[in-house]
């Protein structure tokens, strides 16, 4: 990708980018002004404005400016500055609170914005999961993210999308946090038997291709245990709870967005099959365990036996027969305590 294809960034993003690149040192005001093609006074004004939004800078005579502190909560300019230039999306929308990031991404696709469209919110008023279920989305330091995409692929080609995006998110977060995260087929991200991230993909079909796709992800980053509704406390957790202390939300979210956009690119050029086959067994929480799969009004019980080449869940029945599933909800059967 040539430099000309990079999305141009606003002056505050460019200032943050320059200062983030020099975390230990100083960047002179003259240098910043020259780099951005604006006056030193304009640079100074941008810095004051950023201070009002939770950033802290140090200015040293003759040396220049240094970034001391960034906001704890997700911040749009910081997220943009933290994204590697080749991963800055052509459309980036940020909301302190919105109805649902999936709905926003869907609307942005319909309005014709160039994709990939990245939508981030600190809170959702109507966050949703599979089949109209709600996704608890308070403003507690979590990430609500949607990617609006136009894959234009036949539906059969979309088959591994869910697993691939799940494994990509999982391996990034495992690498960054060091937590032993796993996936419950198809893509519930789990930590210590509790859900830490949920993903939902909604697609619009044309005659024979998947025209528009919205990939939504809710990740509990810093939510403290007491912010979960009582009925969810045994089912859901956050990275911070598992980690034992809060995590830097902005670098974590920016890194995750970059990884997911990269994963989507890999998926478009059909390069995901081998890495998925390699990664899935490392994340598969179900393999070898007794499970029940609910599909509509039917339930199937047996032992999970991994996935096939198309990503379908393989279920081994008590009689030894194998059955594969492309949809359904899995519960892990309770086994007697050891």
């Amino acid at each position: 990708m040539s430099e000309a294809e990079f999305t141009p960034v606003s002056p505050p993003v460019a200032i943050l980018g320059a200062l983030l690149g020099q975390r230990e040192g100083y960047v002179s005001g003259t240098q910043l002004a020259a780099q951005l093609g604006i006056s030193r006074v304009a640079v100074w004004k941008h810095l004051r404005r950023l201070e009002r939004q939770g950033f802290r800078f140090e200015a040293a005579r003759r040396r220049g400016h240094r970034l001391l502190e960034v906001p704890d909560h997700l911040h749009p300019l910081l997220l943009e500055a933290l994204l590697p230039p080749e991963r800055r999306p052509p459309t980036f929308l940020f909301f302190t609170s919105t109805d649902s990031t999936n709905t926003r991404a869907d609307r942005a696709l319909a309005e014709g914005h160039p994709d990939p469209i990245v939508v981030v919110a600190r809170a959702q008023e109507a966050g949703r999961g599979r089949l109209g279920r709600s996704w608890h989305s308070g403003d507690h330091g979590n990430l609500y993210l949607s990617l609006g995409l136009r894959p234009r692929l036949p539906p059969a080609r979309m088959g591994l999308f869910t697993l691939w995006m799940g494994v990509s998110a999982g391996s990034y977060l495992r690498g960054t946090t060091g937590l032993p995260l796993g996936l419950k087929w198809p893509n519930d991200l789990m930590a210590d038997g509790k859900k830490v991230a949920g993903m939902l993909t909604e697609a619009k079909m044309d005659a024979d291709q998947t025209r528009e796709t919205v990939f939504g992800l809710g990740l509990n980053i810093n939510a403290p245990a007491d912010t979960f509704p009582a009925e969810l406390r045994s089912l859901a957790t956050s990275l911070a709870i598992e980690h034992g202390s809060p995590l830097p939300a902005n670098p974590l979210a920016a890194g995750l967005i970059a990884r997911l956009l990269e994963a989507y690119e890999t998926f478009l050029r059909d390069g995901h099959r081998d890495p998925l086959a390699d990664l899935w067994p490392q994340f598969d929480l179900l393999k070898g365990r007794p499970i029940t799969l609910h599909q509509g009004t039917s339930t199937f019980s047996g032992t999970a036996a991994g996935i096939d080449a198309r990503g379908s869940l393989i279920l081994k029945s008590p009689s030894g027969g194998l059955q594969t599933f492309r949809a359904g909800e899995v519960t892990i059967a309770k086994t007697a305590a050891p």
């Binding site: 949703r128 599979r130 869910t162 939902l200 599909q295």
Partner: protein, 149 residues
């Protein structure tokens, strides 16, 4: 024989003096008669020896000429689970006797946790919903019976 072939026959008839055409293939019979001034009229009826109806799990052709005229089917473009509404408490996308426009969403098919909104590929009135909510469907399976137009 598909719709394209039937159209070709009609075109051929228009361009020639041919006023009647009939063909019999395995499972169905087609007869097209053309009035002196009017457009061609297609009349088709099941042939006496019909093959047994396809099992519900087998892919069904999207249209067979052995049905009454104007009746058509919206079929599933993929293997998955059929849902009539986006959620258990939301109204279904469409119902019997409702007119659906081409490209309006008629159902969701979930496959590999992708909720695929399925558009009608033709305009028409829903005559029958052939799959129950939450049931698995196969590629090409008939989902809705519609009266086209």
């Amino acid at each position: 024989m598909d719709l394209k072939e039937i159209k070709q026959i009609i075109d051929l008839m228009k361009r020639s003096d041919l006023t009647e055409f009939s063909v019999e293939e395995q499972g169905f019979k087609l007869r097209i008669r053309r009035g002196p001034a009017g457009a061609p009229v297609a009349v088709s009826s099941p042939a006496p020896a019909l093959p047994p109806p396809a099992a519900p799990s087998e892919p069904a052709p999207s249209a067979t000429p052995s049905e009454e005229i104007g009746v058509d089917y919206i079929t599933s473009p993929m293997v998955g689970t059929f849902y009539r509404a986006p959620g258990p408490e939301t109204p279904p996308f469409c119902d019997v006797n409702q007119l659906v426009e081409e490209n309006s969403i008629v159902c969701i098919i979930e496959a590999m946790k992708i909720m695929n909104e399925i558009p009608a590929d033709k305009r028409g009135t829903i005559l029958e919903i052939l799959v129950e909510n939450g049931q698995p469907v196969e590629f090409g399976q008939r989902l809705f019976k519609i009266k086209a137009g």
